[in-house]
């Protein structure tokens, strides 16, 4: 379906540029976090997120290093397809936490791709699936302890 009816207006907010930084454990950066928004006018069940992948400076971030924090819970990306009772409200940010010893320094390009199934949309027998992409430069200099 089309550019407009895919509600692509929201793609640019897939990576939300507020509230990011390194994750400190006893003073040592064990990883980094940034926030994401549902690129859609409404919320969706996590099971409808068919794919959620991330890049750092163009290189793919291994899925096993990534967790999604939402509704005061923590989810591994591989588990998303089974989470049909977990709702991502569109007004809420989901935090992406990436395990990386030493965290990040300076300006880095974070990319995200989400393939989202529209669970209500089976107009002619199949659900619409929309791929949203977004890339943002985030400056991690001194960004510690400023997390949501």
């Amino acid at each position: 379906m089309g550019l407009v009816n895919n509600q692509r207006a929201y793609d640019k907010y897939l990576i939300w540029t507020e509230g990011y930084g390194n994750v400190l454990v006893r003073g040592h950066a064990m990883g980094y976090q940034f926030q994401t928004r549902m690129p859609n006018y409404r919320g969706n069940f996590l099971s409808c997120v068919e794919e959620f992948t991330f890049t750092l400076d163009g290189g793919e971030i291994p899925k096993k290093n990534v967790e999604l924090l939402l509704n005061d819970k923590r989810f591994r990306l591989a588990d998303l397809p089974s989470l049909f009772m977990e709702y991502w409200n569109v007004a809420d940010c989901a935090v992406i936490e990436v395990a990386k010893d030493g965290g990040l320094e300076g300006r880095r390009e974070i990319g995200a791709v989400m393939r989202l199934r529209y669970g209500y949309s089976g107009y002619f027998g199949a659900c619409k699936v929309v791929t949203s992409r977004c890339s943002r430069i985030l400056d991690f200099s001194g960004k510690e302890g400023d997390l949501p």
């Binding site: 089309g2 550019l3 009816n5 929201y10 409404r42 709702y87 569109v90 529209y118 209500y120 107009y123």
Partner: protein, 325 residues
């Protein structure tokens, strides 16, 4: 003739403002009141915290907010996410449970109508009717583009409405099914993605003549049209066509309300959907109930260039003028 019609607003109209947190719920209600709305529709999956199981407290507070502004919390707009699971479609029991959950939430917020979607199959409506009757809340299945009243599944829905013949089972008619031509914002999105303006003009001419998608294929091939141009052509001929009035009078007893969809109010007019003709047809068909304005231009105009509050106000004013309210 139009004394039984009331005007309302779907809070979906303020989607961009809500997403960007530029307007609070209280502000959305207040500006709807300023537009002289009598009733409100809220898209639960969008704006109700805790969906699909919000607290009674939240729902009752919403009702209170509406009542303090003398707004009717008219419609709880539900989604039926029949494709929510990754492994299979929802079965009939699960679909009914989803609708009953909508009814429960709707009752707490004081709504008298639940909007649901075509993903509830026509055969399931007979099983939903007893629940709707117990809750005394109407369930309206929304007809929405790309469907039209002559789409086969809608012929089945219409038959189901007549067979069940319950005042609690019916349809929401979204006037988007009568949209004739795309609006400038929609066209501009494709132009910004590289679709040549002369090709766009050619497609629009063909659409205005009532031609089919097939008729433009040779030109698309000749120009070696890219994916965006092909997508634009497909969308254009699927979502828009010159207005052909439907015979609505026999269907009107099943219409819970209209979504009076609009994309762009300019100089007091909506040029995508022929409201003068549609509202005349609706009035002549003897409709009594709500026209719920639903602004959808926010997908293309999301930077605040045409504030939703102003667009909504202008749309209700146009309806009042056309209906002589």
């Amino acid at each position: 003739m139009n004394g039984g019609m009331k005007l309302g607003v779907s809070l979906f109209s303020y989607s961009s403002e809500f997403f960007m947190k530029r307007l609070s719920l209280d502000e959305m209600l207040a500006i709807s009141k300023e537009a002289d709305a009598a009733g409100i529709e809220i898209v639960a999956a969008q704006m109700i915290p805790g969906y699909p199981y919000p607290t009674k407290t939240w729902l009752r507070e919403f009702r209170g907010k509406c009542e303090r502004l003398d707004l009717e919390p008219f419609c709880y707009s539900g989604h039926l996410d029949s494709g929510m699971r990754s492994d299979r479609w929802l079965n009939d029991d699960e679909k009914i449970a989803s609708i009953v959950n909508d009814l429960r939430n709707a009752m707490e917020m004081g709504a008298t109508v639940v909007r649901t979607q075509h993903t509830v199959s026509p055969s399931l409506l007979a099983g939903i009717a007893p629940w709707a009757e117990k809750y005394r809340i109407k369930v309206g299945v929304e007809i929405h583009p790309p469907h039209r009243l002559d789409t086969p599944v809608w012929l089945e829905f219409e038959k189901a409405f007549r067979d069940i013949d319950s005042p609690y089972i019916g349809m929401v008619l979204d006037t988007g099914i009568y949209q004739e031509y795309p609006y400038d914002g929609w066209i501009d999105v494709y132009a910004q993605h590289g679709v040549p303006r002369d090709l766009i003009a050619f497609l629009l001419d063909a659409l205005r003549r009532g031609d089919a998608l097939d008729s433009v294929q040779p030109r698309l091939e000749e120009e070696k049209a890219d994916d965006f141009a092909i997508e634009m052509a497909k969308e254009m001929f699927s979502l828009y066509r010159p207005y052909v009035p439907d015979e609505l009078s026999s269907l009107m007893k099943y219409v819970t309300h209209f979504h009076t969809k609009f994309y762009h109010m300019q100089d007091g007019e909506e040029r995508t959907i022929p409201y003068r003709e549609i509202l005349r047809t609706v009035a002549e068909a003897g409709f009594h109930g709500y026209l719920i304005s639903e602004y959808e231009g926010h997908y293309c105009y999301d930077s605040g260039e045409y504030p939703a509050a102003e667009q909504v106000k202008e749309h209700l004013a146009m309806e009042r003028k056309l209906l002589g309210l």
